[in-house]
Amino acid sequence: MPTTRRQFLSLAGGVTVAGTIPVVTLRPLEATPAMLTSAIRSVVGEAQLRTGKVKLDIPPLVENGNTVPMTVSVASPMTADDHVKSIHVFNEKNPQPNIGNFYFGPASGRAQVSTRIRLADTQKVVAIARLSDDTFWQVAADVVVTLAACTEEMN
């Protein structure tokens, strides 16, 4: 049967509609690219990395990846015996896996840091805290980015 004009248009229209639907990325939660894994290993070493304790506040959907507000905090008494030594933040799909390392001590009073970061793509952000007993705790957040940073041309 030859395709009628009506059938063709409805088909083409359907494709266009499908094309405007945001791309849904289905990724296994634990599948992290090798660069991210090795960057995390260089901080954690062979120590066990547990999930919890760390809180990562980052918008789940950002329009502009050039400046994304982010706050990382850990509930800790911040005493000499029990405090957070450092917080390390990583990303999955920027050209480089590191975002920042932040160092604290008992004089910090509160283990919390806020900054603004760049995200080159829709991806996972991972925050890892090192406590004074040298245990490592992590949290991950997925961020959807509609305008990517870093890779655009410079005029």
Partner: protein, 105 residues
């Protein structure tokens, strides 16, 4: 002085206070190309240190994934009156400092 610092002018001894800093810097990632294909060399701030009466209370290593004009907010315990000193160090010999004082009662 291309930095904005926000520290409370007065605090009670033992209070946990927030310190906010914003400095002006391009934070060129080193991953961008010009229209004719040349790589734009990296030019970022790599390190930030905050000292309270000479003692380090907060330090950060920054990477190209930190947005232009780096903003950092963190906390410290107000122990005594004195001075906060801030230092930013970066590529191509970049160095910038700022300071502010606090009254602790």
């Amino acid at each position: 002085m291309p930095a904005l610092i926000n520290v409370p002018a007065k605090a009670k001894r033992g209070d946990v206070i927030e310190i906010r800093t914003l400095t002006s810097h391009i934070m060129e990632t080193g991953f961008r190309h010009t229209a004719d294909g040349k790589l734009v060399p990296r030019d970022i701030i790599t390190s930030f240190i905050c000292r309270y009466n000479g003692a380090e209370v907060f330090r950060a290593d920054l990477f190209p994934a930190i947005a232009a004009n780096p903003y950092l907010s963190f906390f410290t315990v107000a122990r005594e009156s004195g001075k906060f000193e801030f230092e930013w160090i970066g590529d191509n010999g970049y160095s910038s400092t700022a300071s502010t004082s606090i009254m602790v009662e």
